[in-house]
Symmetry: C2
Subunit: 396 residues, 2 copies
């Protein structure tokens, strides 16, 4: 088997697995207090409702749920997603929707249809490792742009667009960005659409956290302000219903969705039909907005509680964001520290988080930042974990 | 939106959706008698058992079923698949297993980790369009090899290997091949392993139908005779339990699976957890072998019945295979006929099948062959459809 390395495609050489998912394996040990991962609060899963729905579907529509389906998605779910997106101003009359096996597949196949080797993608730095790795896997070139308090530095983005004609995509998590928790201002969102038009590129608006606001004012999605079909909107059921069901969607012009559908056909034929029917039935029988309201309230509480604990236990030299929604707090230490070293020490004491370097365009450069997730642990474990982490930080 | 075509990656230019899946959309109209598609018999889905299992899982392990999972797959399901594969001689002690979101994902990601633009794949001609399109989507070059009554022409395969050093993969559905229904002989299977070793390539053994034998003698899988780790085995729950759940698996050496797992992470993070738990629980509570026994019996009956009807209604100039398992009968008309023309005429009379050209390496070349599926329709509709098709053929 000396030959496997010689036979591998260039695209997977040097491609590394997500450190987050490696850490996630450790965090499945129940004694670990995990602020790593981006897991939604399991106590929010509507298990009873979904159990009833599952049984009803299998007993009454089992032959549909268990059979092959259509690549574009289960019709009733497409319609329900369309209606929600329409109500949120995200849907335009020229759009269409395709159900994906999670938002990640939406990002991955969008990368697949656009990127030749060497084509560029502008990304916030830090950004979501899953998306960055999708771009890397098609040999795309990531052009990192710094994030300011009001989102991506759009001047820097324009400078990069000016001097790199091979750029095809701008990837942004505009609302409650992962990992920084930052939300892009209205002005910058409008500016980004102008840039996309001027430089003939597409914007991927990845919005898994947009509905999880627990503070401050709503800001319109980029997609809702797009009149020229430049924005490819990627949505997800993972944070508002369940990630285990692997359901997401893309809204874009048919010209964009058509090649994505062809690629989805050869990727996984279609998304799990049973899951799609479960989601459709949940949206029909219950108010998901009411459900999301409960999640917002819980996350607002958990975020506030974690911030309180951080004020109490963290040393002053650790700075952090105060998010208005989403799942993450982003912490930054003085530059001399490497958060990977901090992680090693904290894992010895059974506390896990995500080191900043994993979210950077250049993963090899040490980062003094790290990401804390507040959605999964109980209040008791949040306090205990932050107390331990505070001790680790103070011992540096 | 004049720009979308200019911005698309080379890999998707000229890539066409599966004609089968386009036909499948038509065949969802209940009045159509469809011998297209490869849908398993819906009356075989164990709906009651799965309804009970689904409810139990959500009520007692909902927090696991609905949460994010591990990319490699749900532990208990991996173990159960391993045990079945071990019992069938397919598993070697050096192997590992990864659960995929259907076998198609297994093929697609295997293509992704091996194929640079221009790298070659040897395929039976005709072959499974989903696999062919995966290879095309990574700009792989398909080297078609004719199928004889005992499977792929291995001499022709060796000639191609000799003169094309860029070949990396041999793709075969050795048992009850799709679409031809042909099974490769033991001698040719052994010879294929020798070729893989000699020319330093890997074999993808795609085996979705292998357990569906209703006649004749079992032949060992290629994987079970492989001692050098050259065979990547792709299995599927689609034809033995349910395709809607999207569950497949790959068995190979860890060196092969490691890059596949990295690509799966960026493709769909992990396979639907709820589905994996349903399959695991079904394998634990029930005998899937007993269940498969029932499917074999039904398909044996349906295949026999369709062949009887074909003898009665088809003109003599239509030749066809007499499969010992699987889902398909492969028909061949005299060369002057184009099965695409036959399809148009038969669709007017609400009977659908798959024209041969869609399964060929060169899809633009007219084919006088076509594929009939016998697993989905009732006996009444089989007779009615074959009678109509016979009339269409006689009218040519």
């Amino acid at each position: 088997m000396a030959t496997i390395d010689a036979l591998l495609a260039n695209r997977v050489r040097g491609l590394r697995g997500s450190a987050i998912r490696e850490i996630f394996k450790v965090t499945q040990q129940p004694e670990v207090i995990s602020f790593a991962g981006g897991l939604p609060a399991p106590e929010m899963f509507p298990v009873k409702e979904l159990a009833e729905i599952s049984q009803d579907i299998l007993l009454h529509k089992g032959a549909i749920a268990l059979q092959y389906g259509i690549t574009e998605g289960y019709g009733p779910l497409k319609e329900l997603v369309k209606n929600r997106m329409q109500a949120q101003g995200i849907w335009s009359d020229q759009d269409d929707v395709v159900i994906m096996s999670g938002a990640q597949q939406g990002i991955d196949l969008t990368a697949k249809i656009f990127l030749n080797e060497g084509d560029g993608v502008i990304c916030e730095n830090p950004s979501f490792i899953g998306a960055l790795n999708s771009f890397r896997a098609y040999k795309g070139v990531i052009h990192p742009v710094e994030i300011e308090d009001d989102g991506m530095n759009v001047e820097q983005a324009e400078e990069i667009l000016k001097s790199n004609p091979s750029i095809k995509l701008i990837y942004t998590i505009a609302t409650f960005q992962n990992p920084s928790g930052i939300t892009m201002s209205l002005e910058k969102r409008k500016r980004l659409i102008e840039l996309a038009e001027k430089y003939d590129v597409f914007i991927i608006e990845d919005n898994p956290y947009g509905e999880l606001r627990f503070k401050g004012e709503e800001i319109p999605t980029i997609k809702s302000m797009d009149t020229s079909g430049r924005v490819i909107y990627v949505g997800s059921f993972s944070k508002i219903l369940s990630p285990g069901l692997r359901l997401g969607w893309i809204i874009a012009r048919p010209e964009v969705l058509q090649p994505i559908v062809v690629c989805k056909q050869v990727n996984d034929v279609h998304t799990n039909v049973f899951s799609q029917m479960i989601a459709a039935e949940y949206l029909t029988r219950y108010s998901i907005d009411e459900h999301i309201g409960k999640i917002r309230k819980l996350y607002g509480h958990k975020c506030g509680y974690m911030l309180e604990c951080m004020e109490k236990y963290f040393p002053d030299f650790c700075k952090y964001t105060r998010p208005e929604g989403g799942l993450f707090i982003w912490c930054t230490l003085p530059e001399k520290y490497n958060s990977l070293d901090v992680l090693k020490k904290s894992l010895e004491r059974k506390v896990a988080f995500v080191p900043g370097s994993t979210a950077m365009a250049d993963m090899d450069k040490p980062s003094s930042s790290f990401r804390l997730n507040y959605s999964t642990m109980t209040d008791e474990r949040i306090e205990e974990g932050i107390r331990i982490l505070g001790e680790v930080l103070k011992s540096l």
